[in-house]
């Protein structure tokens, strides 16, 4: 029997384990936006985000029999996606640094500069301002250490609780708070420096 879209995660997981892939499709539909957003915010790259979100679902499906059904499926899925994306970012960063050391890419990190199109100009000042702010915060996020960036994104963009962050990152609750607070502190300093032109 195919489970409906409003069935809870636990029932869908059980049905998937019994071989009903239709139930897993419901789970993909349910969490694809969240996972894609998470991967995008962590990587700031749509291609990486799609690859990592897809990979997270595939890994979840392949390892579903290991999933502890007392835990939240959503948190488990988030953990997989976060780890995959962070590893991918590190891998890419490592490759970029290696290329830089080899002298093939001596220039500084390319910071995306937002160039408004004609269409964007027509959209109005407020919308453009919002876009500029988004580009600015994304650029600043890239300048803080990965461990703080991930914690800040999970807290203020994904709006997860500190408990969920601690579980996803496999750290203590107090360390999750420390990372979020230090990340915010660093971002604030960078924001002030940028806005004051220092």
């Amino acid at each position: 029997m195919a489970l409906m879209a409003d069935s809870n995660d636990s029932l869908l997981v059980k049905a998937t384990l019994k071989g009903d892939t239709g139930s897993f499709r419901v789970l993909v539909e349910r969490y694809k936006n969240a996972l894609f957003n998470l991967a995008y915010r962590l990587s700031q790259n749509r291609d990486v985000a799609e690859d990592m979100a897809q990979e997270a679902f595939v890994r979840a499906y392949e390892n579903l029999h290991k999933f502890d059904q007392k835990r939240s499926f959503f948190t488990w899925l988030y953990t997989i996606c976060t780890n995959l994306t962070i590893n991918e970012i590190k891998k890419r960063e490592h490759c970029r640094q290696a290329r830089s050391w080899e002298g093939q890419n001596e220039r500084h990190e390319a910071i995306p500069i937002h160039r408004p199109s004609v269409r964007e100009l027509a959209e109005g000042e407020e919308r453009i301002e919002k876009k500029k702010e988004r580009v600015l915060i994304d650029r600043l996020l890239r300048r803080i250490p990965e461990e703080y960036r991930t914690a800040v994104i999970l807290r203020y963009q994904e709006e997860l609780s500190y408990l969920e962050i601690a579980e996803i990152l496999s750290i203590s609750l107090s360390l999750a708070k420390v990372r979020v607070h230090r990340g915010i502190e660093k971002l604030r300093t960078l924001l002030l420096e940028t806005e004051n032109g220092t």
Binding site: F24, V28, Q54, F57, H65, I184
Partner: protein, 231 residues
């Protein structure tokens, strides 16, 4: 209550965990000190910028691509069995089922223990029987064959400690077809025996094929045979 510093108050405020009293205290501090007010404002702006980040949509066909990848990797029978074994199951039972299960388990354990006990007893019994059989076999006569090569002999007899060195027709060797090889088979109990061949009723000959021989005190060497148990 532990007195929190300004930063702690700020973070509690940002996390919406500050109590009304703490919020009032924070506001008072900001009103008194412009630098603190600016700091609070900059924190709020940072969080506001973070939260203002618009959500992005996954590309169309995302779900289909995920499902395609999943369906390309059908789960093998081994993995299915592993999944069945490792996946937790919810079992709901009323008290009658629970007691039936307990009773069945107790019955199975008792039956299993009894069966195991009886099996061990039976094994012990079989071992004892085997020991007895072996003890009986120890003194069972074993067929023992003696050969003598005598192309010129007309008669060959065997005499030894097994028949008190008596010359007896029952211990006469035969040579089928008048050949040179004479032989006889005796049923002897396990042990060591001395023997000799008497050729043509007059000449005592030591068996050249014997494994050992011993002086008999009369100028001859007695052949020695050791009859072993068959097991």
């Amino acid at each position: 209550m532990k007195k929190k510093d300004f930063k702690e108050l700020i973070f509690d405020f940002l996390d919406e965990e500050a109590s009304p009293e703490e919020r009032r205290l924070l506001e008072e501090k900001c009103q008194e000190n412009k630098a603190l007010a600016d700091e609070k404002a900059s924190f709020e702006r940072t969080v506001s910028l973070l939260k203002g980040s618009a959500p992005v949509q996954p590309p169309t066909g995302f779900t289909d691509r995920v499902m395609l990848r999943i369906e390309e990797k059908p789960i093998g029978i081994g993995k299915k069995i592993l999944q069945w074994i490792t996946s937790p199951m919810d079992i709901h039972m009323n008290w009658a089922w629970k007691w039936s299960l307990v009773f069945t388990l107790v019955l199975l354990i008792t039956a299993g223990t009894t069966w195991q006990y009886l099996r061990i007893q039976r094994t012990h019994l079989q071992v004892d029987q085997l020991k007895q059989q072996l003890a009986g076999l120890k003194n069972q006569p074993v067929p023992t064959r003696f050969f003598f090569y005598g192309p010129m002999a007309e008669s060959v007899h065997l005499a030894g400690s097994f028949n008190d060195w008596e010359i007896d027709e029952r211990f006469r060797l035969v040579n089928p077809g008048g050949g040179a090889v004479w032989s006889i088979t005796l049923m002897l109990k396990p042990g060591e025996y001395e023997y000799m061949f008497l050729v043509d009723q007059k000449k005592w000959v030591t068996d050249p094929g014997a494994v050992a021989s011993r002086f008999d005190g009369f100028g001859h060497r007695n052949s020695i045979v050791e009859v072993l148990r068959e097991i």
